[in-house]
Amino acid sequence: MSTATADVVDVETPQRKSRQHHRPITPAVVIIQIFMAIASVAMALPFLWMFFSSFKPLGEIFMQPPKLLPMDWQPQNYTEAFDQASAGGVWWKSGFPRAFWNSFYIASVVTLGTLLTSAMAAYAFARIRFTGNGFWFMLFLATMMVPAQLTIIPLYIIMGQLHWVDTHLPLIVPPILFNAFGVFLLRQYVRGIPIELEEAAQIDGASRFRIFTGMILPLLRSPMVALGIFTFLGQWNNFFYPLIFLNSSETFTLPLLVNQFKGAYSSNWAGIMAASTITALPLLIVFIFAQRQIVEGIALSGSKT
């Protein structure tokens, strides 16, 4: 067995080296490259279509055969969509700017809040031997199976009792105070921090709270960045909860407003595409710059869970 392995290593090493230096361009590689290039363009095409159509005059939008690029660029599609969505109000107080702000601040507050509470619970689960640690942890894990649709009806009734329906509180408070996935993910990372560090700090007289804020939180930086990105993405794109809890258009988040706009101006495709561009583009830009972090964070969280 060991000789066989040695053989493999001996035979393979030079070959692998040469392969790394100049990867041979075989027909298979060329075919794969062409195929993946076509597939990637096909994946990106709907976005390009959305983006360029949002600048087209209506006449060009329905043109057959279709052209991707507008011949006559019309940025005023955006201002018109703004005016229509604000229904006669001051444009920056209602409609899209308002919805943009609603989405932005809800997603930001939830992200910051849930990061803090998840890290706290993760630290407790990983490092503090309190009565019920195992029990509560199992309960957290078990709830990951529960579909949102099962709890949404009671939540709606509870929020009604609290007079929170049609405010942003049902979208902010529950996700800050409960994030089983976040707790679980961060707990895995806290367990990876050497306990000796914490003991040394304890001997130096640091309290638990000092250790948490001064040592654990800084060491959790990268998983918290990843979790923060997922949370922000999820909140920004969330449709189900806002749909249930919000009724009046000044409380709407972007996805809700886009959906409403689509219903109200169903033939104004340029405006609808402008609306979806406003929703999609900010995150696409963030994604282009933070691609590595997002993609690796996702792969990592998958392997940790």
């Binding site: 290593v9 990637s40 976005f47 503090i128 009734i157 105070l177 249930i244 979806s276 995150l283 792969a299």
Partner: protein, 348 residues
């Protein structure tokens, strides 16, 4: 690991609380590894005096206090926004209530309504059909793309970004784009397909094509996540193993079936569990496509839950539907976890 620190003689004469402390500490010593355990062991070995036992008790009380302080926000959330509503939902499923008038226990009548309503049955079939089409399409195509992406060298990041972009986009924006692309009267696809001699179906109006159309959109949006997960799995397949197999004369197909797939089987299981759960909850696309007037052949279980609970304010039947959905998901996940012994291969 180490000998248990002199339990019996000490414990008998002690007050109950102290005995608890020692047994728990010794369990900790026996059960835990690392410095934390060692630390406790020292305490126990020296802890024959009353003073040490008192300090142990104090530490335990302090740990409990600290634990629950750190847990407090999430614990409140767990009880108030998950366990509470969950119990409430189960109770609601056996009640007749519109949220305002009197509540009334009706036994299994809500479940009877769910099972006997023709449209609910149709929606359940639609949902199952969606899952049967979507999950295999998504997983197989994601695996193929991930496998090919590995061989693209420097272009890998660019391709991956293209595949992942729909994942970071709001489902509403995605649905709105596709609402256009799926409308044969105005879709640019019509012209392109006609050019190659194909007729575009009226995707969202033709009963046969609604579910496949939603499958197409959801695969387009969901592909990036699965590609990334499969790529992470494939990167963990040791190159030495593949090279050894190649030297033994294994074909590409044999390497795939005998090495790659067994080694990434945990990833396959994880994705299959999560994507079945996700596909059973399909809702956003359909709601954006059809608003509140989805045709019978395009409605899904979650669409029915939303309509029943929040349009008709029939909370009882809505909760019964949601409870049945949950039980179906539990059963499907349980089955997959049971079946994993037969095919999932863990290296550790």
């Amino acid at each position: 690991m180490t000998e248990r620190p002199q339990p019996s003689g000490q414990v008998t004469g002690m007050p109950a609380g102290a005995a608890d402390d020692v047994t728990e500490a010794s369990v900790a010593v026996a059960g835990r590894r690392g410095a934390h355990g060692k630390d406790l062991m020292h305490e126990v070995e020296a802890g024959t005096t009353e003073r040490h036992r008192a300090s142990l008790r104090k530490k335990r009380r302090r740990d409990n206090m600290h634990g629950y302080i750190f847990m407090a926000p999430q614990l409140i959330g767990l009880l108030g926004f998950m366990i509470g509503p969950l119990v409430f939902a189960v109770i609601l499923a056996f009640m007749k209530w519109d949220g305002f008038g009197s509540r009334q226990f009706v036994g299994f009548s809500n479940f009877k309504t769910v099972v006997t309503t023709e449209q609910f049955r149709q929606s359940a079939i639609n949902t199952a059909w969606f899952t049967m089409l979507q999950v295999p399409t998504l997983m197989i195509s994601a695996f193929i793309f991930a496998f090919l992406l590995q061989k693209t060298g420097r272009m890998k990041n660019f391709y991956r970004a293209c595949f992942f972009a729909p994942q970071v986009t709001a489902t509403v924006a995605v649905s709105v784009i596709w609402l256009w692309l799926l409308n044969p009267d105005i879709s640019p696809l019509t012209g392109w397909l006609k050019a190659v001699g194909l007729v575009t179906p009226n995707w969202l109006q033709d009963p046969t094509f609604v579910i496949p159309a939603v499958v197409m959109v959801s695969v387009w949006q969901g592909l990036g996540y699965q590609v990334v997960m499969f790529m992470a799995g494939l990167e963990n397949v040791p190159a030495s193993m593949m090279e050894a197999a190649a030297i033994d004369g294994a074909s590409e197909f044999q390497k795939m079936m005998r090495i790659t797939i067994p080694l990434i089987s945990p990833t396959i299981l994880f994705l299959s569990i999560t994507s079945i759960i996700g596909s059973f909850q399909v809702f956003d696309y359909i709601f954006v496509f059809f608003d509140t007037t989805a045709p019978s052949f395009g409605r899904t279980i979650v669409y029915e839950i939303v309509q029943t609970a929040f349009r008709e304010f029939n909370f009882g039947v809505g909760a019964a539907l949601a409870l049945l959905l949950f039980l179906a998901l539990l059963a499907l996940t349980g089955l997959q976890l049971l079946a994993q012994k037969k095919w999932v291969f863990y290296t550790e």
